[in-house]
């Protein structure tokens, strides 16, 4: 099986879908001539031309709305945000236009479009460039939200997102673009809404998504050294959320830690805990613990930044708490 970077897996997905369907086009800042701020769109301008790989001005609200209008008139836009931090300017179009169009038109206007770009903190980018937006976006009925952690998932979920007849938010990990992984050859479409057990285990469940999958896997390695078998469940999709997979794992291990990049208050983990307390209450041997970014804007200082983030050490500590080892 070929090994690809996360970046190149996304590039493959875009290229294959644009080859497959002439109505698919990519627009965003620096996607064409510059080859993408993170080089996800490398080579696409050359292959598909400026009509289908469209460089926009820095106007997130405007070009997100152009994506919505183009979808209303029959195209399948892929709108790239240079980062999701900038996409907050486009929230009116994502929430008020894209997410509600089908419903408020009584089913007349489906919204086959993708909003994608890097999400979450990288390294020392400061408060305004280091944010994870999934709990904001996953709150909205009418949207689907996916957050792939591996190159294979990135390819398969982006392809599924482009083929979906709904607005799909694809949250890519800024720190994941260079990571490598095996990607199956041939057609790879991963259904949206299916979690994936990234590592089976018996003693404690660690639920995670996107960049925190690697955090959870590192924590699982450390726990293994202490003789603790952790099961790592990658949600992959935040909305819809694979409740059955969460319940199945917790029912098996009876203990759970939920990890995410975003802030604690009203985070994705809060929703996961709601599912567990409702549907797996009798299986729990300990209260569920959450590991999140601290409830503060991201500091620039490297030491403070590390202290703010979800880390393997924090996950190990939380796992030990739910196992009553500490």
């Amino acid at each position: 099986m070929p090994t690809l970077t996360y970046r190149d897996a996304l590039n493959q997905a875009l290229r294959e879908e644009m080859q497959r369907d002439p109505n698919v086009f990519l627009m965003g800042e620096e996607v064409g001539l510059y080859q993408g701020a993170y080089k996800v769109s490398r080579g696409l301008l050359e292959e598909f031309g400026p009509q289908r790989v469209v460089d926009t001005p820095i106007a997130e609200l405007g070009f997100a709305g152009i994506g919505v209008g183009a979808a209303m008139a029959g195209l399948r836009p892929v709108v790239e945000f240079m980062t999701w931090n900038f996409a907050i300017l486009a929230l009116d179009q994502i929430v008020n236009s894209a997410a509600k169009m089908l419903y408020m038109s009584g089913g007349q206007f489906p919204m086959p479009l993708v909003f994608r770009g890097p999400n979450g903190a990288a390294l020392q980018l400061g408060a305004q460039h280091s944010q994870a937006w999934e709990s904001w976006l996953a709150h909205i009925p009418g949207l689907k939200v996916v957050a792939p952690a591996t190159p294979a998932d990135a390819k398969g979920l982006l392809k599924a997102a482009i083929r979906d007849n709904n607005p799909v938010i694809v949250l890519e990990g800024e720190m994941l673009y260079n990571t490598k992984g095996e990607v199956p050859e041939g057609e790879l479409v991963i259904p949206i809404g299916q979690a994936d057990v990234k590592r089976p285990g018996n003693d404690v469940t660690i639920i995670c998504h996107s960049k925190t999958v690697s955090v959870a896997l590192k924590a699982a390695d450390q726990l293994q050294e202490a003789g603790i078998s952790a099961e790592v469940v990658d949600l992959r999709s935040i909305r819809p959320l694979d409740e059955a997979a969460v319940i199945a794992s917790v029912t098996k291990t009876n203990r759970c830690v939920v990890v995410e990049e975003g802030w604690h208050h009203c985070g994705v983990g809060a929703q996961v805990v709601d599912i567990i307390q409702r549907d797996a209450f009798d299986h729990l041997d300990a209260p569920v613990q959450r590991v999140t970014q601290v409830d503060a804007p991201m500091p620039y200082n490297k030491v403070l930044e590390r202290a703010a983030k979800s880390t393997p050490e924090k996950v190990v500590a939380a796992a030990r708490r739910v196992l009553y080892l500490d």
């Binding site: 001005p57 029959g74 408020m104 489906p110």
Partner: protein, 332 residues
């Protein structure tokens, strides 16, 4: 600004049939809105309801310049455009009543009228939020190699919002087939435009985007039609236009608001009513011998009956079934 587009074009350049049809459409809007106001007072219509009375010549004059396969997208003051585009008065009124037979199946309401098959791309409720959508529709037309245009309606208050400027810029850069139609009725809710806009000449904003523009008398349906005809022809060639159509609303901002009060005087409203676009058109039709008063009265009676029928239809239509609550949150 194009001088040719600003001059009122004599009605005789428009066929007598079209002139009669224009009066019919303007009267339909007026009578429809009067009935909507009544139904609102009776509690049959809920929420926000923004009436078009006074602005009829804008919808009628602009849409007369369109082909059936062209697109329209509107703000939340869009009953007039919906009716002129041909959505049956029954389906529009039923939507206002929130009924299953409404043009958005009762799930949109007054502000969210949609009709995909008539390329009526909605009623949108966030001021200025739909202006980029118009550019997107134009983008799709150009992408597919079509020659349709998209008319985009918004009020003058939307000119202060970023979406307006972002959309006009991209429409000009990409040469999109869009006509941006600012219905300048002078007030954003209760705020006079000059109190909140550094530049009150809306059409002048087009120069920032190297776009053609025109100021148009919105009480003169023929002037509106002529200016839009030119703008639509240019749009089909990839040249978008900003039209500032100066009009006036005779009613409050919405049904919840007073007709006049702290922000405008009764005298001002009465003075503006002397410019009533329907009165102007009926005078013209009589003067030109195209319709006599008896014919106009007969037409008005026919429209009254049509609107009464729309109210009856809406009133007797069923609510959406309970399953509609969760239907169309997501597409299959």
């Amino acid at each position: 600004m194009s001088p040719a587009a600003t001059a009122a074009i004599p009605g005789k350049k428009v066929s007598a049939d079209l002139q009669r049809s224009m009066l019919r459409q303007m009267l339909l809007i007026r009578r429809f809105e009067e009935k909507a106001a009544e139904a609102y007072a009776l509690g049959k219509i809920g929420g926000f309801c923004h009436l078009y009375i006074g602005q009829e010549a804008v919808a009628v004059g602009t849409i007369a310049a369109l082909r059936d396969d062209d697109y329209l997208i509107c703000s939340y003051r869009e009953h007039g455009q919906a009716l002129v585009r041909g959505i049956p008065a029954t389906a529009v009124m039923a939507e206002l009543f929130g009924k299953a037979t409404g043009c958005s199946h009762g799930k949109g309401g007054s502000m969210h009228l949609f009709d995909a098959k008539r390329h009526f791309m909605g009623g949108h409720g966030i001021v200025g939020g739909h202006i980029p959508l118009a550019a997107g529709i134009g983008f799709a037309v150009k992408y597919k190699g079509g020659d349709q245009v998209c008319l985009c309606y918004f009020g003058e208050a939307a000119v202060n919002i970023g979406a307006f400027h972002e959309a006009l810029n991209m429409a000009a850069v990409w040469k999109l087939p869009v006509v941006f139609i600012c219905e300048n009725n002078r007030y954003g809710m209760g705020t006079a435009f000059e109190r909140v806009a550094a530049l009150t000449d809306v059409a002048a904003h087009a120069t920032s985007y190297d776009m053609a523009s025109a100021e148009v008398d919105g009480m003169d349906v023929f002037a509106v039609h002529a200016a839009t005809t030119k703008a639509v022809a240019d749009a089909r060639q990839g040249k978008p236009t900003l039209l500032e159509i100066r009009t006036y609303r005779f009613m409050g901002h919405s049904m919840s608001d007073p007709l006049h009060g702290v922000y405008r005087t009764k005298e001002e409203v009465e003075e503006q009513k002397k410019r009533d676009p329907i009165a102007a058109l009926t005078h013209h039709l009589r003067d030109e011998g195209i319709m006599d008063q008896a014919a106009i009265d007969a037409l008005d009676a026919e429209i009254h009956a049509e609107v009464d029928q729309a109210v009856k239809f809406a009133d007797e239509s069923p609510d959406p079934d309970p399953d509609a609550l969760m239907r169309d949150v997501l597409a299959d």
